[in-house]
Structures are given as C-alpha cells and as structure tokens.
C-alpha cells in the first residue's frame, strides 16, 4: 500500500456519505489523504438576491427556507436585524417563545447530528436510536408551531403563536424522556470502545487553529474556545437565563461529539427555565410596512455555530441588501486542515463533525475546467454563448432564433 501511486477520488457531488450535493476531491496515496479540494456551489439558490425582490414579511418565509434544520435560526437572525433598524421593542413573551423554539431546534439538530455521525462511522444502531428519540422533539415542535421543520413562528416585532400552559406541560413531559435518553447517549459516547476508537484523535483542530481559521459553534468549543453568541452577545431571552457554555479540550471529533451531547442537557435546562419564567404580555408589537433606512448586523448562535445576517434597508418595503453568513461557511475551511494526513475512512466523520449544512452555505456557481484543473468564472453572456455553441456542434442552431429574440428585445 505504501508504494501505491497517488490518485484522486471524488467524494461528491453525489455520494452516500453526503446528504447534500457538495464536491470534495480527495488526493489519496493508498488509504492516506494527501490533500482535499472543496467545491461549493451545487446548491446555490440565489436567496440573497431573491430577498431584495420581496417585502420584509415575504422575506421571513423565504429566509426561513435557507436551511431545513436551522430554519428558526435564520429567520430569527434576519428579523433581529430588521427590528434593530426599525427600532422595535419586541415584547419579552415573544423573546421567550423565540428562545424556547430556538432551543427545541437545537435539540432536534443535535440529535439528528448524532445519528448522522453514527451512520458515518458505520454504527447504524445509534442512527436508528437517536432519530427515534428525535421524533419526540419533532412532535413537540409540530404541536406548538404546526410544522416539523419550517415553523413560521417569527414575524417582525414578535411571534405568531403563543405557547399555552397545556403545551408547556407537553413540552416538559417530552423533555423528561429526552433527558433520560440523552444521559444514555452520554454514557454510550464515553464508554463504547469502537466509537471512541473511531472518534478520538481524528480531525484534530488545535485551539490556535480555531482562532486562526475562525471556526465557530461546537467545532470551536470542542477545542477549548469559549465562543457562544448566546453568552457573549445575548439576544432573545438568553441574557435572563442561566446556562453553561460547554467546552471540551479534546480538540477532535470525539470532543465535538461530547460537546454536542452535553449541550443537549443545557438546552433542556434553558427550556425549563424559559417555560417557568415565561412572562405575560402581548406577542407582537405593530411593525411598519416600510422599514426606515439603515443597516444592521445580527448574530445568532445556530445549532451549528454563529450565524450572521446583514440587512440594509432603504426606507421602502423591500430590503436593499441581505447578506447571510451561515456557520458552515466559517467551519468548512477547517475541514481541509483537519483532513491532512488522515485516512480515507476518517473523511466522512470529519466532514460530518462540523455538522455541515451546504445549502445554507452555498454561494455562486463556479465552473471547473477538468483538463487543467483551474477554476474559471463564467458570466451570464459567455455561458449563453457557450450553450449556443454546444447546441450548434450537435446540429441545433440557435443563432437565428437568438437574433430574432434580440431584435424583439431591442424594440
């Protein structure tokens, strides 16, 4: 194996290890990884541009669909920026409800991650167990908001649905089951030999590297960097609730697992406090249709790390610019670093360990030239010309049709 030649294998855009299309080109020597090339862009949907074409109210629902799992994170982050520009004082009951939904979302995201991680290391039993338990929190979310993923809870100036005392009881009942199950997972993660063998020492990212590469969320916290927007720059109701920022010194995939599983326990704690201290009052304040000119940056601790939204308003009912920096974009740089000199077998779990969400992250389309391997950016006119040429080579001539079209456009 040691004398085997170097070769490149593609992991993605379609590959069983990836839940979303993303390209990783891995240079291998035997089983050893020499280098990884990451290619984003397969899932780019132009949401930022689309947001500029819609009103703020429409944008909430559009931005909620940036990500299927952290939908509440993105919509809350966007709304916080808009509220800041408009100078709205959101009622505290609404803030508490946002916090509860946010933490329920974190629970469902982390349980989902635990299952995916299990699958990546070939431990399907863990996948089946944690996804079964995830149904508990999914049911809670569905009963509060009416939906399992895109909750539609947020509106500018508050939330759209209340949590009744009966629903609060239901949540607490569900949390008890989840807490018991989570204790079991902590036990598994810290005792099961094959899991520890596959996770510890894999995907090492030192504290210095975290600071240098600007990793966020559990990836950073697992390397001992106490970085959590909920504590550093409290939003929603986090300032009034007490919780610990979980960190770990392991710096590897194992540490990231431990951090996530322990964060689940913190989430239960936060939800219990929030439900206990849920203040009375209105759910929303009246928000203007036209947001005054201004700009704001909003930070939010999504399950995967810090989510940043920038909104620029120009006094109309549509934003002038919306910019989203999803947590995966901050973390994906670290993956390359983590994979250096590791084995091919570690690749899926190392990628999974940052809990990537590529659809949130994807930016623009870049075309790669196969032969020389260089990246080339093609703009719209040249892509158009290329497609005409491509069809002409195959016997379909669009030139005449194109001329007619351009004449009509010119008129």
């Amino acid at each position: 194996m040691h004398n085997s030649p170097e070769f490149k294998i593609p992991i993605g855009p379609q590959h069983p290890a990836l839940k979303e299309p993303e390209g990783f080109s891995v240079a291998l020597k035997g089983e050893k990884i020499l280098g990884v090339d990451i290619r984003l862009g397969y899932n780019h949907r132009g949401i930022e541009k689309a947001a500029e074409e819609r009103t703020y109210i429409q944008d909430i629902y559009l931005i909620e669909r940036v990500c299927g799992i952290c939908s509440h994170s993105h919509s809350t982050c966007f709304i916080q920026a808009v509220e800041e520009i408009a100078g709205l004082a959101v009622p505290s009951r609404a803030l508490y409800i946002r916090t509860i939904i946010a933490e329920l979302e974190r629970i469902h995201s982390h349980l989902l991650w635990l299952g995916v991680a299990g699958h990546e290391i070939g431990f399907d039993t863990l996948l089946m167990y944690s996804w079964r338990d995830r149904e508990v929190v999914m049911d809670i979310l569905a009963s509060i908001t009416g939906n399992r993923v895109n909750y539609g809870m947020n509106t500018i100036g508050g939330v759209r649905r209340d949590i009744s005392p009966e629903q609060a009881q239901e949540i607490l009942k569900g949390l008890e089951i989840l807490e018991e199950r989570t204790k079991y997972y902590i036990e598994i993660a810290t005792e099961e030999t094959t899991i520890i063998k596959r996770l510890s020492g894999v995907g090492v990212l030192s504290r210095e590297d975290v600071l240098k590469l600007d990793a966020v969320g559990p990836t950073a916290r697992a390397s001992g960097v106490k970085r959590d927007v909920r504590a550093d720059d409290p939003y929603a109701a986090y300032g009034e609730l007490s919780f610990d920022v979980i960190t770990d010194e392991a710096c590897d995939v194992y540490g990231r697992t431990v951090v996530r599983v322990k964060e689940l326990m913190e989430s239960y704690k936060i939800i219990r406090q929030a439900l206990k201290n849920l203040p009375d009052g209105p759910l929303t304040v009246r928000a203007p249709r036209k947001i005054p000119a201004g700009e704001a940056i909003s930070r939010y601790e999504a399950p995967r790390g810090e989510d940043v939204h920038y909104v620029k308003a120009n006094g109309t009912e549509k934003p002038e610019r919306v910019k989203i920096r999803a947590p995966t974009l901050a973390n994906v740089q670290a993956v390359k670093h983590m994979l250096r000199d590791r084995f091919l077998a570690d690749m899926p779990i190392v990628i999974a360990a940052i809990d990537p969400c590529f659809s949130c992250t994807d930016r623009m389309v870049r075309l790669q030239e196969r032969d020389c391997g260089a990246d080339k950016i093609i703009n719209w006119p040249s892509l158009h010309a290329y497609s005409i040429e491509w069809h002409r080579e195959r016997g379909i001539d669009f030139t005449q049709l194109n001329k007619k079209l351009q004449d009509r456009l010119a008129k």
């Binding site: 194996m1 085997s4 070769f7 294998i9 593609p10 590959h15 069983p16 290890a17 291998l28 089983e31 299990g118 699958h119 990546e120 290391i121 070939g122 431990f123 399907d124 039993t125 863990l126 089946m128 167990y129 079964r132 099961e192 094959t194 899991i195 063998k197 596959r198 084995f343 091919l344 077998a345 570690d346 690749m347 899926p348």
Partner: protein, 313 residues
C-alpha cells in the same frame, strides 16, 4: 448418477442452500432491525430482492475487463456452494468427504473474497479498486485467526477431516466445551469474511460507496449478494460442525432440526455483534486481528496441546 445430481442440485446442494441462505438473510436482517427498534423486512424480502436483481439490466463498465468482471460473481458463488457440500449437516459424514477436507473447505471459503477482489479490481472504478484492495488487506488479518481457531479444534481431535472431527467429538462428549475460546475467535473472524460491521470496511458505504461491488448491477450483483448469504450459511455450518458437534447421532429429522437451530444461533450472534459496534478503520481492524484474535487463537492451540497430552494419553 441421478442420486448425485439430486444431492448437488436439490438437497443439500444448491436449491436447499439458496433457500436456507435467503431465510438466514431474512433472520439476520430482522434481528438487526428489531434490535435497532425498526420493524424490519417481511420474510420474503431477500427473495424479492434477488428476483428483482435478476430482472435488472447488467451494466459492464466500458473500461473494465468484461470477462473477469462477469466471471468473478459466478466463481464466488460456485466456490461458496461447493464448500457447503463438504460440511457434515446432521450426521457425522458429509455428502463429500475425504481426509483433509477441512483445508479444502477453508480454501473454498477464501475463494469468494479473492473473487470479490478480482471483480472489484477489474471494474476499474476508483471506489471499487480501493474497496477490493481493502478486502484483500482484510483477508490477511482475519484469515489467520480463523484458521488457527478451527485447526485448534482439529488438533484436539487429531484429524484433518470434518468427518473424523465429528466422530471424535461424538466419542468424547463434552470435549467441544474446551474449544469455546476458539469459537469466539472464529466467529469474530467470520464477521470479517462476511464483510459485516465492524469489519465491513471493504464496502463502507460512507467512504467507498459499495467498494468492490460499486460497478455491479443486475444479475451479477444478485449473485454477489447471494454469495455473501451462502457464505454466511457455509461459514456458520463450518463453525457449527467444528465447535458445536453435538446432537449428531439422533434420528435424521431431529438431527436436521438441531443443525438448523445451530446455524440460526450463529446467524443471530452475528446479527447481535453487528448491532452493538461501529465500523473500525482498516488499520485498527488489522491491529485488532493480530494483537487480540491471533494471541487468543494461539492460547487455544496451546490449551488444546496440553489437553491432548493430559486427557487423551
């Protein structure tokens, strides 16, 4: 002549073996599913899968060597089925038997892995190549403890034939209990041979898609999957014959039932083992085999040498 044909084609040859293999696959999958809190497949699912695969198109990669690519699955299935013919089922003798048939059975059970390697290598896909190299690398790790575990039992009986082995343990009831350590070693090694978790490294789907099987489709994939099922039965039957040699001199119907129960017990153990562990990395797998399984197998050999000197003098 007709009799031999019946033996080879119907019982205990292909037809019986294939049916039993599909049943075993169902039981394996059902237990695996129930342990994972799932419902699991209905009883006819393996058969339905097999029939579906037989009806699908066979795609041969352009760059591959078509002859090698096509012959590997048939070769693998044939050798797994042949291996079964040498294993005694409910009496001491097998359908075919001669001095030294243990070696032949072990050899025939090694061939499918080589066929997987050849098929994967000649399909020229990168995933297949990595997968097939992995299955060969793995072969050198699990094969040694498996052989040592089985040969330790044979050493105690002082024979190289499965018939002689069965006769010895029939004459010395209770002696099989000395080989339990070897049974454990051989069972874990068998997981490697069958490419099941934690040793499913050659076909780890999150790394190399389906390893050597990636490019296979249709009938040939059906044969490959059938090979793994038949190998599971043949491997379990070998383990049952070597390590659980009891209930051999009862009447055929009862003996047959005991045989089925023994096989299903081993299949259930395999399902249980693969439920509770994660997949190892290839380097960890080789370390595990050489550092734990081989010393344990050596211990079994040593134990049997001492027992032979003390008890059988």
């Amino acid at each position: 002549m007709l009799g031999s044909l019946f033996y080879i084609i119907v019982f205990p040859g292909m037809l019986f073996l294939v049916t039993f293999a599909l049943l075993a696959e169902f039981i394996d999958r059902k237990i695996y599913a129930r342990l994972q809190n799932r419902v699991g497949p209905p009883w006819f699912q393996p058969l339905a899968d097999f029939i579906k695969l037989l009806g699908k198109e066979d795609i041969v990669p352009v760059d591959s060597s078509p002859k090698m690519f096509k012959i590997a699955p048939i070769f693998a299935l044939a050798s797994a089925i042949t291996a079964f013919l040498y294993i005694p089922l409910w009496k001491t003798g097998a359908l075919l038997s001669f001095k030294g048939d243990i070696i032949v059975v072990l050899y025939l059970l090694t061939l499918p892995t080589l066929a997987f390697f050849i098929g994967g290598w000649y399909s020229t896909s990168l995933y297949s190549r990595i997968g097939s190299v992995r299955s060969l690398t793995q072969l050198f790790a699990y094969e040694v403890p498996l052989f040592m575990g089985i040969l330790a039992a044979a050493l105690l009986a002082d024979t190289w034939s499965l018939k002689g082995l069965a006769e010895f343990y029939l004459a010395h009831p209770g002696f099989w209990a000395f080989n339990l350590l070897g049974f454990g070693v051989a069972l874990v090694s068998l997981l490697g041979k069958l490419e099941k978790v934690p040793f499913d490294i050659p076909e780890a789907e999150t790394e190399v898609v389906a390893g050597g099987f990636t490019e296979y489709s249709g009938r040939m994939l059906g044969f490959l999957r059938m090979t793994l099922d038949v190998e599971m039965i043949a491997g379990s039957a070998l383990l049952a014959a070597v390590f659980l040699p009891f209930g051999l001199n009862v009447n055929p119907v009862l003996g047959f039932m005991i045989f089925i129960i023994k096989i299903l017990l081993i299949v259930s153990l395999i399902a249980l083992l693969r439920t509770v562990v994660a997949r190892l990395r290839i380097d960890q797998m080789i370390n595990f085999c050489w550092k734990f399984l081989v010393p344990l197998a050596l211990l079994q050999l040593l134990l049997n040498l001492i027992l032979k000197g003390v008890l059988l003098k």
